[in-house]
Symmetry: C2
Subunit: 415 residues, 2 copies
Amino acid sequence: MLAEIITIGDEILIGQIVDTNSVFISKELNKIGVKVFQITSVQDEREHILEALANAQKHADLVLVTGGLGPTKDDITKETFLEYFNDTLVEDAAVLQNIKTIFKQVIEREPLPSNLSQALVPSKAIILHNPFGTAPGMWMEKDDTVFVSMPGVPYEMKRLFSNEVIPRILKKFNRPYIYHKTLLTYGKGESEIQEKIKDWEAALPVEIKLAYLPSLGRVRLRLSSTGPNEQVLKAAVDIQMNTVQELLGDIVVGYEDEASIQERIGQILQERKQTLSLAESCTGGAIAQEITSKAGASAYFRGSIVPYATELKSDVLGIDPELVKKYSVVSLPVAEAMATHANTLFKTDYAVATTGIAGPTKGDGRDDIGTVCIGIAGPNGVSSYKFNFGNARERVIGKATNKVFELLLKEILKN
Amino acid sequence: MLAEIITIGDEILIGQIVDTNSVFISKELNKIGVKVFQITSVQDEREHILEALANAQKHADLVLVTGGLGPTKDDITKETFLEYFNDTLVEDAAVLQNIKTIFKQVIEREPLPSNLSQALVPSKAIILHNPFGTAPGMWMEKDDTVFVSMPGVPYEMKRLFSNEVIPRILKKFNRPYIYHKTLLTYGKGESEIQEKIKDWEAALPVEIKLAYLPSLGRVRLRLSSTGPNEQVLKAAVDIQMNTVQELLGDIVVGYEDEASIQERIGQILQERKQTLSLAESCTGGAIAQEITSKAGASAYFRGSIVPYATELKSDVLGIDPELVKKYSVVSLPVAEAMATHANTLFKTDYAVATTGIAGPTKGDGRDDIGTVCIGIAGPNGVSSYKFNFGNARERVIGKATNKVFELLLKEILKN
């Protein structure tokens, strides 16, 4: 069984927004054994949407379409669906009621005619209830292919997809199992890893596919397999994963599908009733943001300070200005002092500090752009590390953030 | 002139990564007047890549392909290009030298045979130098369509595209001008905006296209036009923008193409030699991360504190615990006190504070999930605002972050 995703909107094609909807849909389909054959982003143009629908129908049993359902004139997905399915509009009483309820309770004004017209839907469509917005989802069939149209607003689409679309897919289609397992490694490049595991890779059963996913200081290795029996599938992949994990030794930090490295840190600290704080200079809040984006962070994460201006490292964190003068603000002693003082300030068990030069200019540091010092203070004392993460600002911040999680997990696992 | 983008990699189709490459390429092409007709993401599979190349050639003068160029066996883009162009491999001396240099200077080990094989390139290709990685770019032509293959690693692709591909596109193709202008509005929904401007919208010249882009508490209005004369184009769009801006009044905060709302705040503060600090509780570093992701933040941004645990609001920020007890941690008086104390702690002119319940559980607040209080302290004193941003964690954090920038800009513009 194959699916295709079509995302509609000029804003995608001029680079004005990042298409996160197709990422979410792909992930969810994958979990229930539906393979995504292709993702296509097209403009808000009648001929182009019609062509994309027809092309998708060639390969796919299921076509998921997002976007173009708003009340404004630039949104033409509904009209184009009418044409593709040779259908006419009818008013849906439940959708009309939902629109009126949302306007009364959330928007707190009278709906306009353009809002009420969202209750007009294709007569052949099964209507999918959208309690979070005024545009409903639509499920339509043509020659054995199912087409689903959903709003493009991510939080509306996500709920509609999970609550209304997934259950209908499970009922309608027979699906094989798809099983992926992804190993996280830090510290070696992909070709070095391949060299280490080449004999194992050459002997992999044909039905198991290996992918290397390198990014900012880490490489993920993904094994994938598809089949009718979930137990058999998992057992076969797990055996291979165990072997490759042994071959790779201490560069492995865990499996991605079980928990991300941030989640593993959170789980361990929570079990031990230990806490974490941060002093983020060059990463400027990126580590705190990543930690607090996940629910449950408050169980172990107490807080962070971003002493972005150099003198704040002394004024707020309490670091001796002589230390900064002697070693430079980007230095191992300053990183260690920042971590130690963060533990004191926030009354935590572990603290991580970053100080570096993200670029494009040098700021108050003496080192090259890309230099980052990371300090970690914990029950075993304090340690620090110096890196150069290159000369692109986003890459420096990204690599430093990933490196912090890697070093912190290793430090925590020492106990 | 039309372009298509093809991104290759199973990791995109199973939702493991977000395809940011096509966003960057679309944006850059748009700047030089090249319209992107379609973006297609396909698997690392020979037949599928061949089909995508052939389909793209039907519409496009220029096809930009990313991904599948790594040294490992799962990367098959080069082999598939060989087949599509009926070509053979030759060794490129400059690429070989680049690989050896990168291994010597950056990776600090001897290259493996798989690394050296990246110097084998299609004989018909113009090779595009990639100083940041071992996979070169390739520029190939077939029946008047140009195909460009680039590595999928974002920072390598971006530099290769900007330095090697863009200049070649400018030389090879005649392009019209494309002009977009995007107005940022906060506080009204898209249908209300449409109602307000419907007469103006109906009278828009056919060559000017209007799009509504709603997201998390704000709506962007984009006008687009294409033509041979840049001055005429800009003048026509600008006249319409002035009109619509007058019709919309005070919900307009500025133009997106000139500067984002964060950049405008930064520019104004820098001109006035004023500074900003943050006390982020429920947003957990998201605002600091957004500010510091842009170069130049250190000119006005002094720092942030994330007092994630309730008692830290007193211990580190110095807020009276009785205030928290009396009004609850999520309250207007606490938000105001956090902002005022942040200004004192960081010695800044403006400070913004957030305290709220991002969910999915209630934490220490007494209010509903989604409640967020924002405090702003500045030269005109302190003010505070209370919102409910719904029950989805990412949406609450996202809406609160956007709202902070909106309120802060309004506050700054009062002076």
